[in-house]
């Protein structure tokens, strides 16, 4: 009977082409919205994960917590000794942060961050020196700086072929440029921003002397990948508890961030899916209308079938089959449209396009469920029609 029902359904759809097309378009838009939204959500999640992986999932960001006593700060020596003392930490790079206007040869070449850093800052943050060298541990108290790529090109635009060896004025002090960094793509997923291209880097000991806020703003560290991130955080907490009683820390590990981000992304995807579902509901209501009209038009046919011995469930399954086929066809077109929209969004945002099997499966599943859900009422109505009245109708 299923085969016969399917044949009847296709035949009925073919007879009412315009109505069928409208119904299919409704479901197609609904399913494509769901597919596009869910796919974009998944791709965004994948993209964020990739950015983390490029930087390394072993990154740990340590800050003084807002709950900490105002009088207690992260001590520079403690920060520098962190990697040597805590076994789970490979490298630690403290930073003192300030900002200022950069003047070169009397001209302003930029505004940006002034980062007081140690030599490890470059390796921890994967900064590559293009010319000269990075800040060294031997530059204690010296007025040396390393400049970002954008700043260097501004200086070059002023006619200076090689900025290394020249001086840049920041906050009324002259710093000799000892190195220029390669351009680097900013990683926005980290809880600490470097903005390396438009910043300058000076020895942390110098920053302690000249900065408006000489406290250590952050320690960016790399942990051993074989140790669980919670253990790493516990080790760091224990280390500072012994070294600086009263100091409360905020420790964010990349893995924890990824987990947090993934859960947020899941909510995001769910929200996007919910937004897409609204169009699906609208499409489904369209299908319901079409099926109700179909039932009304086919009262006599239903009555004939009942007279020939069709049971209520036969009639119900016939109309349910029809609505499921209608939504499945809409679903297949919707998947194609959804993938095309996703591809367009990926092209526009420079994300890597990928076909999400989950979204396709959920698209088809949703279509079938929508067919069942929105087709149920008309099918039920059809099965309850009075055959006597149907036989008398013209």
């Amino acid at each position: 009977m299923v085969g016969a029902n399917a044949r009847e359904a296709v035949d009925s759809m073919r007879k009412a082409r315009l109505r069928t097309a409208l119904g299919i378009i409704g479901i197609m838009v609904g399913i494509s919205s769901v597919i596009a939204m869910v796919s974009v959500g998944e791709i965004a999640q994948e993209q964020a994960r990739k950015q983390f992986e490029e930087l390394g999932t072993d990154i740990v960001v340590i800050r003084k917590s807002f709950e900490s006593a105002a009088s207690v700060e992260i001590d520079l020596e403690d920060a520098i000794a962190l990697d040597a003392t805590v076994a789970s930490i490979i490298e630690a790079a403290p930073r003192i942060l300030g900002d200022g206007e950069f003047i070169h040869s009397g001209k302003t070449v930029g505004n940006g961050s002034v980062n007081g850093v140690t030599a490890t800052f470059a390796s921890v943050n994967q900064l590559i020196v293009q010319k000269g060298r990075f800040i060294s541990d031997f530059d204690i108290g010296r007025y040396f700086c390393v400049i970002g790529a954008d700043l260097a090109s501004e200086i070059r635009n002023n006619g200076v072929v090689n900025p290394v060896g020249t001086t840049v004025e920041v906050g009324g002090r002259l710093f000799t440029i000892v190195g220029v960094l390669q351009g680097i793509e900013e990683n926005y997923v980290l809880p600490v921003q470097i903005d390396a291209n438009r910043s300058i880097f000076i020895p942390i000991s110098t920053a302690q002397r000249v900065a408006w806020r000489p406290e250590i703003e952050v320690i960016i560290a790399r942990s051993r990948t074989d140790i669980h991130h919670e253990k790493v955080a516990a080790d760091i907490t224990e280390y500072f508890r012994r070294r600086a009683p009263g100091l409360q820390l905020q420790i964010i590990t990349a893995k924890e961030l990824i987990a947090r981000m993934e859960s947020q992304m899941n909510i995001f995807s769910l929200l996007l899916g919910a937004v897409g579902s609204i169009s699906l509901i609208v499409g489904g209501i369209g299908i319901m209308n079409i099926m109700l009209v179909s039932v009304a038009e086919r009262r006599q046919e239903i009555a004939i079938r009942r007279a020939l011995g069709a049971q209520r469930r036969d009639i119900q399954s016939q109309f349910l089959t029809e609505s499921i086929i209608l939504t499945m066809v809409g679903g297949i077109f919707g998947i194609a449209l959804g993938l095309a929209v996703t591809w367009g969004i990926c092209r526009y945002t420079n994300w890597d396009f990928m076909v999400s099997v989950t979204s396709i499966a959920s698209g088809l599943g949703t279509a079938a469920i929508a067919g069942l859900f929105f087709g149920f009422q008309p099918a039920y109505q059809a099965s309850r029609l009075d055959p006597i009245a149907g036989l008398q109708s013209e």
Partner: protein, 271 residues
């Protein structure tokens, strides 16, 4: 009364206890059907008794509003009586649920309608095999049976034609094939020739007579046409929700004719 008996068995026991008696196909006893229309309860059938035997060819005549259609709906298991007993081929059918009625209708009753009631999108074969499909017969076997039945009613050359490609007479032959394909106990024909021209009507009637004669098929025809009724072995009349014997009816009609100077006969007979 030869066509009517009140000695109907109470449950689903076989009516035919005497080997020489023809088998009872249909037995109605004190069938009543009333409808609630607003505050008024209108009784359409007021205690109908009827016995139909295997191989009967019976016509039911009566004026409009006499309860013909209601009776046909009850006999055809499309409706249930308000009270009374109905035994169909040994099965008591009063108070059966909808599924059981559908199943029994599928197996025991073959319908032929005045308006043919073929499914317009389906071919002749598809129309004819439908009762078998609802019975759970596999499609291939159902199609084979449908083709054989269409061949028997002279439609072997029009198997794949759709109703809109057939004449009125051909449509009714397809409808008859559909009614017979499931080997029902009773063929219920509601004005089977009502929508046909005289020649085609004659052909269709001949087919029904032949099926009754050769295959001992029990046929019940509901008609307004006296000529059709006359070709049946038995004629039953319904008036104001009660069945009356052919002779009684004709007497009543005759006396009314006498009273009204011949004006009533046609009205009663033709409804």
């Amino acid at each position: 009364m030869s066509w009517c008996s009140r000695d109907v068995p109470m449950m689903s026991e076989t009516v035919n206890t005497d080997q020489n008696m023809p088998k009872s196909i249909l037995s109605l006893s004190d069938i009543r059907r009333s409808f609630q229309i607003g505050p008024t309860n209108t009784e359409i059938l007021k205690g109908v008794d009827l016995e139909v035997y295997e191989g009967d060819l019976l016509s039911i005549m009566g004026p409009s509003g006499s309860g013909k259609t209601t009776l046909m709906n009850i006999i055809g298991l499309l409706d249930q009586p308000s009270s009374g007993y109905y035994v169909l081929d040994g099965d008591k059918v009063s108070n059966l649920n909808d599924n059981a009625l559908s199943s029994l209708r599928n197996k025991q009753i073959g319908f032929v309608f005045q308006a043919f009631h073929l499914l317009t999108r389906s071919s002749a074969v598809e129309n004819v095999c439908m009762p078998l499909l609802y019975r759970g017969v596999r499609r291939k076997a159902a199609v084979r049976s449908a083709e054989e039945m269409l061949d028997k009613v002279g439609m072997g050359e029009r198997l794949r034609h759709r109703p809109n490609q057939l004449s009125g007479g051909q449509k009714q032959r397809v409808a008859i094939a559909r009614a017979l394909v499931g080997s029902p106990s009773l063929l219920l024909a509601d004005e089977p020739t009502g929508a046909l021209d005289p020649n085609t009507a004659k052909e269709v009637m001949s087919l029904l007579l032949r099926l009754n004669d050769e295959q001992k098929l029990t046929v019940m025809i509901i008609t307004h046409d006296v000529n059709i009724a006359r070709q049946c072995k038995r004629q039953v009349f319904i008036r104001d929700g009660t069945l009356i014997e052919s002779s009684e009816y004709m007497n009543a009609a005759h006396s009314e004719t006498a009273d009204r100077n011949g004006h009533a006969t046609a009205a009663i007979v033709e409804g």
